[in-house]
Symmetry: C2
Subunit: 185 residues, 2 copies
Amino acid sequence: MNQLINYIEQIVRLDDEAIRELEQLSEIEYYEKNQLILEQGRRCNKIWFLKSGMVRKYYIHDGKEITVWINTENQTFTSLQSYSQNIPSTEYLQACEDTVAISITRQNSEKLIRFPQFVIFANTLMEREFVNADIHSKALSVKDAKGKYEYLQMIAPEIIKRAKLGHISSILGITQETLSRIRKG
Amino acid sequence: MNQLINYIEQIVRLDDEAIRELEQLSEIEYYEKNQLILEQGRRCNKIWFLKSGMVRKYYIHDGKEITVWINTENQTFTSLQSYSQNIPSTEYLQACEDTVAISITRQNSEKLIRFPQFVIFANTLMEREFVNADIHSKALSVKDAKGKYEYLQMIAPEIIKRAKLGHISSILGITQETLSRIRKG
DNA sequence: TTCTTTTTTTGACATAGATCAAAAAATGTG
DNA sequence: CACATTTTTTGATCTATGTCAAAAAAAGAA
């Protein structure tokens, strides 16, 4: 729990009551390697904070898995589209390693709205995610395969270190074979 | 002004006081075709609502203009990264046609926070933009040049109709020549 | 209208990265 | 351990799209 509180306090200060309430309303979850956290077609009504492990977001296109992103320790994740609009998810969330996460449901997170700190935190987080997504998609769209790989290595070395080749190449929008050749140098 | 109010009221109901305040705090701006609304390097401290005309967002990479997106009537636009973090913009905003827009500064928009409707509106808008950006970047990343063009035509026919070839092709991440050939059929 | 500038089209050619297939290496399992 | 499964590497093509250059068409200016 401290991990999550530290994470939030990088953005806003939390008083004791807010922390108690957060603890009340959140839950800890354990997933095994390869286990699905969210399946396509289901409504996603939680946001998770990753204590340990690694989680992959992907979808299926023409029968092939397209990996969107991979999250590691001390990051939050959800299927935003499904969560925010309460519609069935087009994405899967899968633990790539044994994973421990803290979850909070939308219902419970709405109870936190009475603490202005949480509202500021939620907005700041959303804005940051948006800006980052923007920066990264621009960077990736402009580079060749090698440049994309090097960029990902710069902004997300954990992914490069721990994820498998096929997942990394999919994030970059290139084939496994091409990535393997890039790594040879 | 009515145009903007209708736009907001698709999301939240505004009472008379909120409308008066919004009118007080916003301003109308006129731009000529090709005029820059925001230059790279400048801080962007406004959000605009497009009454008429067309606005292109682009940045320079390796000396070449990369068009990110083009907005048309009844849409809002800004350089989000610069606006939200109050840092110099990496992007330009340019009127592609004679353009009329309503602007509100960050300072003034903060005064609207006392109306909860505006807070809900702002959050909803941000969330929608995020979800849309997500959907579109996925769709574009997975298709070939022709598929990308057809997808853009589906989600933003105004851009296809009114923007020039080079700008459209740049949004799609393909060359002008390739787009010209796709159009021939 | 005529002239200039900008934008779009067309053609010839080059190439990054895809595809397909199979070998090699790594990992997991009883 | 030995065996099965999964993941990564390597090799031989193939192809969609890029690049460069020049012509044609459209738009703007005088």
